[in-house]
Symmetry: C2
Subunit: 339 residues, 2 copies
């Protein structure tokens, strides 16, 4: 049990320290989250009582129906199943807390992102989760949005202090490349993303780390950036496979690149192995094997919503920004055979 | 050139009649749509001038930036690529007209649909496009939404008069089943949707019409309704294929059912042919062939947005509700082979 300066209004963090639990547990308890055990719940509520903790207006509004009941979610590309799964995760948690979600799609356009955030902020949403289109995050600073809570998803914030949830891009890439090396591959073509994107940089870094850790050289000719255009990944993969000394495996840094590489391999009849970051729906129905780095996209959305609800409920907005990382696993798809 | 009662304020329909063009052409001209030829544009603007037609406040707001700039879109299931493509179509047209879109997902829940429509209506959207979750559309009547324009997508309205855009569910199903019959199939298992859904009823009707037109009997045992649960379609397909006298082909009434049927066929090594309603992304990478009824989902979204923008811009709200039908084509996916 920690001490508290006398006279100061207690915060959710004070309650957490008093009950010797995490602020998240306090938040969950006050939201009636079923994951909190009855024993833990009693402990938290005893501390709430003892410290005479009262949640702020917004938080009370949340429970009594005076809040707007609406969260905003801004993503870059709804046609990518990654983002629709993320949206369902956000929605699931919002729904469990009696709230709804409205979703905006930027198509990767920064101006549209600014407008959508402004549209939502000016329409009484309680908070916003944003998958940022670029590296300029200044318009996402709660300070410029009348204190509206903001959480970033898939990328950490640049130049502002807000909570964020990211995928373990580095670790997932390192593991996928290490698996290819273990299978005997020494020259692996890398179909990367834009170099200025955090996600792209982390996935490239993981790939290179695995090569280094295996004592393999990093060949610039095998490291390619693929523009986000239809057909670009296939073209780059065809180039790599058509070289005089082609790589024996390809590692693609996202699902669009993986599908392009898959097409190039299928069309040329290349024996190259294929691995890629991001899961691909129905890949178990494909004619040839592919290994993918998967992660729980719904969980990513749920964690982002959880951080956001905590910020909405917690008046202690000076709490340090949190960075939550979602782990990855490597999954091998093998063609479905009659059983 | 039609006559007009003297003294009455001219409407967009009067302009259309005067210029001998459709109201849609007038609307497009006033929105600056590039599809209107310069000649047609001059003709419409001459009529606008002659009749001293002035668009209403909302319409003027649209052009001068005083409108909210935001359209609402409510869909049933964002994790189905069908709805994300529809959303991109709505967005494309909205964006070309300087507007943004916020999207809500109901998960097929009628209460959530009511709440999301209310959330959007109370937050100054200019109009709403809804894919209704059920057959109760009373809460979608503009009369109960302060006159807010509403357009339904994928289903016609029940008990209210609003514009709608639907897919040719009947014609697409009829064509797919007819193609299976042409390939020699006489007994076709049908994996249908809920019987109370308009879409499900129309697709079943098309299937039965094709059988009748081919002089084939309609066997109740081959007509199945599949609940919208994961794995349900596969289970129903396994039942059909495991019968003493199994069908030689399956026709699935939506993409989820098609994938379930595909799995059942692959697992059992059944020689049954497979066709399904709705396209399936990446089906060309599948190991076995599948035929699908496709349609331009983006166009469905664009047409819905177009109808909505016309209602927003046109004060003549008494105009009859319009029903736009999007055509279908049958597409055969064959496994990709090394070229």
């Amino acid at each position: 049990m920690s001490s508290m300066a006398p006279g100061r209004t207690p915060t959710m963090r004070d309650v957490a320290a008093h009950a010797a639990v995490s602020p998240m547990t306090v938040s969950r308890t006050l939201r009636g989250d079923p994951r909190v055990s009855p024993e833990m719940r009693a402990r938290v509520l005893a501390s709430v009582e003892e410290l005479r903790y009262r949640r702020n207006d917004l938080a009370r509004g949340l429970r009594t129906g005076r809040s707007s009941g609406l969260l905003g979610l801004v993503v870059t590309n709804l046609s990518n199943p990654f983002y629709s799964e993320l949206a369902l995760g956000v929605e699931g948690l919002a729904s469990a807390n009696g709230m709804r979600v409205v979703i905006g799609n930027t198509g990767g356009d920064l101006d549209r992102e600014r407008q959508l955030v402004d549209d939502m902020a000016s329409r009484r949403v309680d908070g916003i989760i944003v998958v940022p289109a670029g590296n300029d995050h200044t318009h996402l600073d709660p300070a410029g949005l009348h204190g509206l809570p903001v959480v970033l998803a898939t990328r950490p914030p640049t130049g502002l202090e807000v909570d964020s949830v990211v995928v373990d891009d580095f670790g997932g890439s390192r593991r996928a490349t290490a698996a290819l090396v273990e299978r005997g591959h020494r020259r692996i073509g890398f179909l990367g993303l834009g170099r200025s994107l955090w996600t792209g940089a982390e996935r490239l870094r993981g790939h290179c780390a695995a090569l280094e850790e295996s004592g393999l050289p990093i060949e610039d000719a095998l490291l390619r950036s693929v523009p986000p255009d239809a057909g670009a990944a296939e073209a780059v993969a065809l180039e790599l496979l058509g070289a005089a000394d082609p790589p024996t495996a390809l590692f693609a840094a996202n699902n669009r690149n993986t599908v392009g590489a898959y097409r190039a391999i299928a069309e040329t009849g290349s024996p190259a192995a294929l691995a890629g970051f991001d899961d691909i729906p129905l890949a178990d129905l494909f004619a040839a094997p592919v290994s993918v780095v998967t992660y729980d996209t719904g969980e990513l959305g749920r964690r982002a919503a959880e951080l956001l609800l905590e910020r909405i409920a917690d008046e202690d907005s000076a709490a340090h920004p949190r960075l939550v990382t979602i782990g990855t696993t490597l999954k091998d798809y093998r063609p479905l055979r009659p059983g």
